[in-house]
């Protein structure tokens, strides 16, 4: 299935058809149009602010950067973001290491349920969890009504923001450290003990060094996620008067006239910081994420916790409650509570919020619009992800290598920066002459959704396609299958579960996507996430909570229905595909 090229005793047989030769070019066009052009057009303004002026000018100027440094608000936002990211990384790592240890190396009961909790927190959109905490802690929130506001005064602060982010992001640390612990062979410990090392020395000198790269990897992922986060920055951090850099970019774009040079400068610095963290993460892990057991040795025997078994499980449940149940439960409860001028009034229950949520101009409409957009983004993302993966599978040219690097780097680009790029690029007057002035149209929003999810889709698709042995493709070709038949009859069905996972990931991501949606939603047609946030900003806390509850229930039910249908439709075939040996696939640098 590769492009023709020299080999040791000959070259790979090229398919030879025009369609296949055009595939890498099409893949390049997609990446350039969706990602490269908008980003480049924005970021270049950090140094060439008049490049797109009339007339254009190549005057080099760091006015945008200087403006940032001179503005105490943005300077504070930058420093706050870096400190918050470092502190959250430490806190999330501590939680993640402890949880990973309990899950992988002890006989703690209910490990399945705890893993489920970890995944639930992992996939929950950060702004929804943050809003749950706002409903609890805000001056008009539930804690003010029920507990006199003491919780709010304590937790609606930078420390509260840190706590919420650590509770949201600790699953990254768990997912990084757990495989590393699992991969340690028992022989490594036995060798140390037989050489005279105590348990403490064994942990210090043997086990921790083996696991350290994974711990560092998890910490750096959390660091990057905090820097990129907009959900908490736009909600809880604002309420806590704790400016963060993603919100400062948003503010620069909401100014009139729009301060693109400052937005560009802030974006460039943010992307650089996140990219540095991601590079550090890749360097820390090298080629192997964790020490593997050689020669088929057994992993470490589980530690018996004895009387500590149930307290450990209770501690995990408490963590789960804080991370998910409290904000989700608060949201659910608040959805049944009337909102008065003073905020939530929990002394009676009502369904009025739900009726209002469906009825408000932007309630049900926003849900349906987002549903359609998300399904379209998911479908496009899967098709483009598969196409790009196949196009790049064997291509060795320089352009492909550059675009692969760009796509990988794009994972480091926060959604707010991507949205800013789209605002700038697709609003250029020159594009109106060719009918491509897309800013403010649903097309721009859809393209941005696809652009945001494409790096992950390609990464997952690449990992999945790599699992198909060459011999499976060669067997199909020897049996008479051309490229189309190979893709249709072998690649797509063999990896059906992967396409479903990618599709669901893109769907859920787009459904509750906030930063790009805030910047690009068409006038009068806000997305679901924007509609929810607007309800909160308009102090319609109960309605906002009801809209959140309805939409998350709807999305969860839809995803569950799809998964159930798949399982029930051809159970034998589903089992057969699941039985094929697989390797770990990464999402955002974490093995899943």
């Amino acid at each position: 299935m590769g492009a023709a090229g020299p080999g040791p005793r000959g070259g790979r047989t090229g398919i030879g058809s025009l369609g296949f030769r055009a595939l890498p070019l099409c893949a390049a066009a997609v990446v350039v149009v969706l990602i490269a052009l908008p980003l480049a057009a924005l970021l270049v303004q950090a140094a060439l602010p008049d490049l797109f002026a009339a007339p254009p000018s190549l005057t080099f100027s760091l006015a945008g950067v200087e403006g940032l440094m001179a503005d105490p608000y943005t300077l504070a936002a930058g420093v706050d973001s870096l400190l918050l990211a470092a502190a959250t990384a430490a806190a999330a790592s501590a939680l993640g290491i402890a949880l990973a240890y309990l899950l992988v190396l002890t006989d703690m009961p209910g490990r399945g349920a705890v893993w489920g909790m970890v995944w639930l927190v992992f996939i929950s959109p950060s702004f929804l969890l943050a809003q749950g905490w706002e409903l609890l802690l805000a001056p008009g929130g539930l804690s003010a009504s029920l507990l006199g506001g003491v919780l709010g005064r304590t937790l609606l602060s930078p420390w509260g923001v840190l706590a919420v982010l650590a509770l949201k992001l600790f699953p990254f640390a768990v997912l990084a450290v757990a495989p590393a612990l699992k991969g340690i062979g028992q022989d490594a410990v036995h060798a140390a003990r037989l050489a005279g090392a105590s348990w403490g020395a064994t942990w210090r000198r043997v086990l921790l060094p083996l696991v350290a790269p994974a711990i560092l990897s998890g910490a750096l992922i959390v660091f990057a996620e905090v820097l990129s986060d907009f959900g908490v920055a736009a909600t809880l951090a604002q309420s806590a008067n704790f400016p963060l850099v993603t919100y400062s970019i948003y503010s620069a774009l909401e100014q009139f006239p729009t301060n693109f040079p400052e937005a560009a400068a802030a974006s460039l610095l943010l992307v650089a910081a996140v990219a540095l963290a991601q590079w550090g993460q890749r360097t820390a892990t090298g080629r192997r994420l964790y020490a593997t057991r050689d020669g088929g040795g057994r992993s470490l025997a589980r530690v018996r916790l004895g009387r500590g078994r149930w307290p450990a499980f209770a501690a995990c449940l408490t963590l789960g409650a804080l991370a998910f149940a409290v904000p989700a439960g608060t949201t659910l409860f608040a959805s049944f509570v009337p909102t008065t001028a003073g905020g939530l009034s929990p002394h009676s229950l009502t369904l009025a919020n739900y009726l209002e949520a469906i009825r408000v101009p932007y309630g049900a409409d926003a849900f349906v619009r987002s549903l359609v957009d998300s399904l379209a983004a998911a479908a496009l993302g899967v098709v483009l992800g598969l196409g790009i993966t196949l196009a790049w599978r064997r291509a060795g040219d320089r352009l492909t290598a550059v675009l692969q690097g760009l796509l990988t780097t794009t994972i480091a680009v926060p959604g707010i920066v991507l949205g800013a790029g789209y605002i700038f690029f697709w609003d250029q007057p020159a594009l109106s002459r060719v009918g491509l002035l897309l800013y403010g149209s649903p097309a721009a929003l859809l393209m941005a959704y696809v652009a945001g999810g494409l790096p992950y889709a390609v990464r997952m698709a690449t990992g999945a396609v790599a699992q198909i042995p060459d011999s499976a493709i060669q067997a199909a070709r020897a049996a008479g299958a051309g490229l189309g038949a190979v893709v249709r009859r072998i690649v797509v069905p063999m990896l059906a579960d992967t396409w479903l996972r990618i599709g669901l990931m893109l769907f859920a991501g787009a459904m509750f996507e906030l930063p790009v949606s805030e910047l690009l939603y068409p006038p009068g047609a806000p997305t679901l996430a924007v509609a929810i946030v607007h309800q909160f900003h308009n102090t319609q806390l109960g309605v906002g909570a009801a809209l959140t509850a309805l939409s998350t229930t709807g999305v969860g039910a839809l995803a569950g229905l799809v998964l159930l249908t798949r399982r029930l439709a051809r159970p034998a075939r589903t089992r057969a595909i699941a039985s094929a040996p697989t390797r770990a696939v990464e999402v955002g640098g974490v093995a899943v």
């Binding site: 005793r9 000959g10 790979r12 047989t13 011999s471 060669q474 067997a475 020897a478």
Partner: protein
């Protein structure tokens, strides 16, 4: 060139180019020189190759390459679907192949529900489905256990012969190659060393490499002292002090040609009481080691005149290491393996000059001429 309906085994150590050869025939690699032809049709030549899907070549992979999402029937029917065969004809052919490979009634099973041997049979059936011009088998046995491998080896050969297909069978297992194939080709370092019928290669190896690769062999340095080029017979003086007539390749039938006298365990015996007798060659040796091998003892002996060569003989009883024994050999199967010109120094060299001066008491010169060429 491979005859229609015959099985060619391509044999060689790892890295000798067996799989590369198969991939060239299958069209998965483009050759830099040479041609691949199937009948009158050229499939590949330097820098160009017909795509694999257009070649009508069946391929059985080492890892079977079954598709986990297809049932046995769907897998076997796949090549027929690619050739747009009608549903009824496809179903009939699938049933025929299921019967051929003895998988009747298992058509609806998935690969993970099959044993290793069953998966291999599915892979073979798929390769045979579209009645290909040639079937290529790339080391189809390594993933099976030893007992199953032995059974499947014969089953594969029977299946291929029943279908009357031409097959190229790649393996590094000499026993597989010798038992399955009509012809064997030996590869080493990407080059074809020798090709021919299995018996021919085993009894008349062209090089020392082929001799040792195809079975246990001792190679005693030897030198030609008389040659009959027309008969392909030479008279050799060996490093163990024995002089005998032997068959040899025509290009080795020249005076002073250097090479080896090929000794295989089945042609050797430990003599009773010291004499060869019955026309057998005999010489004195000392037992180096004696290892039990179930049906016999493997006795390794070294001649004082040529201590660097250990000769292995199968004996029904144990012989104590260090014992002096008479080693006898059947001269009728004697074969002289020539050494390529560039490696002459390794064929005994100066040692050959001293053979004739060795103690005569340790030598019994046999006299029987080799039997007519077989």
């Amino acid at each position: 060139m491979l005859g229609e309906g015959s099985i060619l085994a391509v044999l060689g150590p790892s890295g000798s180019g067996k799989t590369t050869l198969l991939q060239l025939v299958a069209g998965l690699l483009v050759p830099t020189e040479g041609e691949v032809r199937l009948g009158a049709r050229t499939l590949s030549r330097a820098g160009w190759a017909v795509a694999p899907e257009k070649r009508n070549v069946g391929l059985v992979f080492q890892d079977f390459a079954l598709w986990p999402h297809m049932t046995v029937a769907e897998t076997i029917a796949f090549p027929l679907a690619m050739r747009r065969l009608g549903a009824r004809a496809r179903a009939a052919r699938v049933e025929e192949l299921l019967a051929l490979v003895r998988l009747e009634g298992l058509g609806q099973r998935y690969p993970h529900e099959l044993s290793g041997g069953q998966r291999q049979r599915v892979a073979i059936a798929r390769a045979l489905a579209a009645r290909p011009g040639v079937v290529l088998l790339d080391e189809p046995m390594p993933n099976l256990d030893a007992q199953l491998r032995e059974r499947m080896r014969l089953e594969i050969a029977d299946t291929l012969r029943r279908e009357g297909v031409t097959a190229v069978y790649v393996t590094h297992d000499r026993l597989e190659a010798l038992s399955v194939a009509d012809r064997v080709a030996i590869l080493d370092g990407g080059a074809l060393v020798q090709a021919g019928e299995p018996q021919e290669l085993y009894r008349r190896p062209a090089t020392a490499f082929v001799a040792t690769f195809l079975g246990p062999a001792a190679l005693v340095p030897a030198r030609v002292v008389a040659a009959d080029h027309t008969q392909g017979v030479v008279r050799i003086v060996t490093a163990v002090g024995v002089e005998t007539e032997a068959y040899a390749p025509h290009d080795a039938c020249r005076l002073d040609a250097q090479g080896f006298w090929l000794l295989r365990p089945e042609h050797l015996a430990l003599g009773d009481g010291g004499e060869g007798g019955g026309g057998r060659l005999a010489w004195l040796a000392r037992v180096d080691r004696c290892d039990y091998a179930g049906s016999h003892w493997q006795v390794a002996v070294r001649s004082p005149a040529c201590p660097e060569v250990a000769v292995v003989v199968h004996h029904p009883r144990r012989v104590a290491p260090g014992s002096a024994v008479w080693l006898t050999a059947d001269p009728s199967e004697a074969w002289f393996v020539p050494v390529p010109a560039g490696e002459v120094g390794k064929a005994g060299g100066d040692a050959s000059e001293s053979w004739a001066d060795e103690t005569a008491g340790s030598v019994r010169r046999g006299g029987a001429a080799p039997a007519g060429r077989t």
